[in-house]
Symmetry: C2
Subunit: 365 residues, 2 copies
């Protein structure tokens, strides 16, 4: 029912819509692995439930869950969420899930990128990632939507689009030799153009300091509407994040989008630097095949890693003095959307945040 | 999204439609277990694919599959079938799947019966059956349909309805002490009435000889339209099936349906008796926790175990001299439906047939 299509979205008149365009719903994956999430993933499950509950106020959430956690997830999640058996190796729907595209008639299709768990065996985030790699096909089968298989190793968190032909990404991630070592920058651009129908790519140099994704743009910078971006920022010149945000800011100020517009750039000051505590690190299983998460490790906290729902913004909060500042700025940038803050440190401990654990499915006809 | 409803279908105005009423589609489960299906279940998978392909000509098939067989099932099944991860202990969608009910407004809901693998630990068909028992909830989550949990251990194959208030079943199965030993006949009737909105139950004594389900009615007798039933038959008085069919025939000839009609009874002569060959039995894994399937065992072959699709009848064929006779009779009983014969010995080796591996989902609004 989900046919594999041999052409490209561009050739068929499909484009990736911006995240603020109307959604049919939101996909998430249930956290479970004990070497990513402390204390048997129970605190992470509570955090995912809070996020799902918040998103459910605005649109339907579908939670994919491994078979052995179906009943537990169903019991914890709000009744308006849909819970489906859909196994994965971890819980990052943004990165291993399908990216959806639409055409002018309201048809929806999905892109199934190649996935190598953020850098394959060179990176060793975890091994294997065979279930993650099947997540897009399984999502599209459930929805009976047709599928494109893209010849590019990529995660959804490494791109943002304005829905009008412009794509934001980072060189650190998309040109990293642990992703597509045999593709040139021009070839990667061609694939992004063919599969997302973008005409102009803004390459920022690096992502957030110590971001274990090799600098996904979705933790650094995003569009808030065409011609407007938000950028994580710090005023502390001694923080290693400073030069990363500063160089991105400089590039954005001189950039143009696909329509030829210069960009309005809004700085969102990051939370104060956070590190993994001993109590947090001690609760994580240590296994050879997974990334080590030791005490004292800097956490890549950023307010940019929010999710845009129909009528709402689901925003990470860290119990930080800057939480309120971020809420206020986002409220200005998204007039008409309710800002819902979620305590998100637990998600951050696993290496990502609210945008990383969600994937919007655009509304069709 | 699939809400658990605390009332009953009857109280809410829902009834189980007859199988010939329009379907949204058909659910199946992918065969895999090596102690049910010979040679690693590969020949059974071929047979299920043939059935799915035949049904797909008339309506959408959704195949539920364990995660480790997702790619194999997807590769084998026709593209118009939907393949979803939905784990089960074996492959009997009729028996462990949801039973659907509808109301006059076209709303569709599902009944989640209790399931104990055809008799629990007294019977030991296989153990455990925990995944089977979750199949209805998972089906209904995918479809976002609300769910009733019925306080009755029952399989879908043990009932047939005419959609107008009459239910057919067998005493051998529904009154068997390995199902609901603490419920009286009257209490079981009350549950069937409450959950399926039937007003009149026709109890046949026994099912087909050596049927390992304890005599499911769907291998013995079914409605073909209101007031008309088809019954498996043999003219051979020395066959143990003779007295079973004869006693059922006698009861049916004197029965009335919920509308007060007497029944028109059509005999469909069974195929010649078949037994498991040595080559077949040798290919089945032997494990302590599963039913033994030895050489020489009588197979409960019957032409009654067909599936009614939108516009078609998917009919078991056994390479028997009586195959054509069954095809002709069914063609007369279902004018306007195409009769599609499927070689079904491989499914029969596992203990059931085409009706046992399918479950119709009625069309909604």
């Amino acid at each position: 029912m989900s046919q594999l299509i041999q052409s490209t979205p561009r050739a068929d008149g499909f484009r990736m819509p911006a995240e603020w365009e109307p959604h049919a719903g939101c996909w998430m994956l249930w956290p479970q692995r004990r070497d990513t999430w402390r204390y048997g993933a129970v605190p992470a499950q509570f955090a995912f439930v809070k996020a799902a509950r918040a998103i459910s106020r605005f649109e339907r959430v579908t939670m994919g869950v491994n078979g052995d956690q179906f009943q537990n997830a169903r019991a914890q999640l709000p009744p308006e969420a849909r819970v489906v058996e859909l196994s994965s190796n971890d819980a990052w729907a943004r990165d291993c899930g399908a990216t959806f595209v639409v055409n002018d008639r309201g048809d929806v299709r999905g892109i199934d990128w190649n996935f190598n768990a953020w850098g394959g065996l060179q990176k060793r985030m975890y091994y294997p990632w065979d279930k993650d790699d099947l997540v897009p096909a399984k999502m599209l089968e459930i929805e009976a939507l047709d599928r494109y298989k893209a010849p590019l190793i990529m995660e959804g968190g490494s791109i943002h689009v304005d829905g009008q032909g412009t794509l934001l990404t980072t060189e650190q991630c998309l040109l990293h030799p642990n992703r597509n070592p045999n593709l040139s920058r021009a070839e990667i651009e061609q694939h992004l153009s063919d599969y997302l129908s973008v005409n102009h790519i803004i390459w920022l140099p690096r992502g957030v300091y110590e971001d274990e994704t090799d600098g996904h743009v979705d933790n650094l910078c995003c569009f808030t509407r065409p011609g407007v971006v938000a950028l994580t920022w710090t005023d502390d010149r001694s923080d290693p994040q400073y030069e990363r945000s500063a160089e991105a800011h400089e590039m954005l100020m001189s950039a143009r989008d696909a329509a030829g517009r210069s960009l309005e750039v809004h700085k969102i000051h990051q939370p104060d630097p956070m590190t993994m505590t001993k109590e947090e690190a001690d609760g994580i299983d240590v296994v050879d095949s997974a990334f080590l998460r030791p005490e004292g490790e800097r956490l890549a906290g950023s307010y940019i890693n929010f999710y845009i729902a129909n009528g709402g913004i689901i925003l990470p909060q860290f119990g930080d003095r800057l939480d309120l500042d971020a809420r206020r700025k986002l409220a200005e940038l998204f007039p008409g959307r309710e800002i819902v803050g979620i305590s998100a440190r637990e998600i951050l401990l696993g290496g990502g945040n609210i945008h990383c654990i969600t994937q919007q499915q655009p509304a069709g006809r």
